[in-house]
């Protein structure tokens, strides 16, 4: 299990390949990547991501350990960036490896739902008009109910 909280960009292909090559006994590897999306009306200059350094690693580790136990994962990887990101840049990725695909897919979805509202990150959208903190959606909180 590797959890990286970093400002630096990452190479999705290289990370996915290294992860897949490093797992023994897995029949399924699922990866998900979150990308900075432009605003519907355009004009996004950057996304600033703030986090809580002392808590972030611990919170993600707790979520990851639960996923590993619940779905019997062979391995998992979480990379989450912070700092100033441009539209189109990857914000984060999750990879899960399991014996079968159902567990790998479900565990990845579980990780994403929990990272969204339980990992201490906050996003601010920067435009020429200024900055707007992204509000959490009720749907994100509701998504936790299914687990």
């Amino acid at each position: 299990m590797r959890i990286a909280v970093q400002a630096e960009s990452f190479d999705l292909g290289a990370e996915a390949n290294a992860f897949a090559a490093g797992v023994a006994g897995a029949g399924a590897v699922v990866t998900f990547t979150g990308v900075v999306r432009d605003l519907p009306e355009g004009g996004l200059q950057a996304m600033e991501i703030e986090h809580y350094p002392g808590m972030t690693q611990k919170a993600i580790t707790a979520i990851a350990e639960e996923a590993t136990q619940r779905w019997g994962l062979c391995d998992l990887l979480v990379i989450h960036r912070y700092g100033r990101l441009a539209p189109g840049e990857a914000i984060m990725m999750v990879a899960t490896a399991a014996a079968h695909r159902a567990a790998a897919f479900e565990a990845a979805e579980f990780l994403m739902d929990y990272l969204k509202s339980r990992a201490p990150f906050w996003k601010k959208e920067i435009t020429t008009a200024g900055g707007d903190w992204v509000a959490a959606k009720d749907a994100d909180e509701a998504a936790l109910d299914r687990w």
Binding site: G34, E50, Y52, G54, M55, K58, A59, H80, I91, M92, M112, L115, K116, S117, R118, A119, P120, F121, W122, K123, K124, W133, V134, A135, A136, D140, E141
Partner: protein
């Protein structure tokens, strides 16, 4: 204790962290104590339903006791992923 603020809570209060001397027994008491000090705290804590709190880096409730707590953090609902 150390009190930390993130995102718009940090912006409204004007500092990312500060040492606070308080007799507050619970998180809610601490909030009331801060609100009584200066307007910028009142602005940040106007709607507690829009806020989350962590005690020593674990999510907690506003009625949680502060005994033994070294670090309190206030922030809006998280938007990771």
């Amino acid at each position: 204790m150390q009190v930390l603020y993130f995102a718009w809570v940090r912006e409204r209060i004007g500092v990312p962290r500060e040492a606070v001397e308080t007799e507050a027994a619970t998180v809610a008491d601490l909030v009331a104590d801060l609100i009584a000090r200066e307007d910028r705290y009142a602005a940040a804590f106007a709607d507690l339903s829009a806020l989350r709190v962590a005690l020593d880096q674990e999510l907690a409730e506003f009625d949680a006791p502060l005994a033994g707590v070294r670090e309190v953090a206030f922030f809006p609902p998280m938007t990771g992923g």
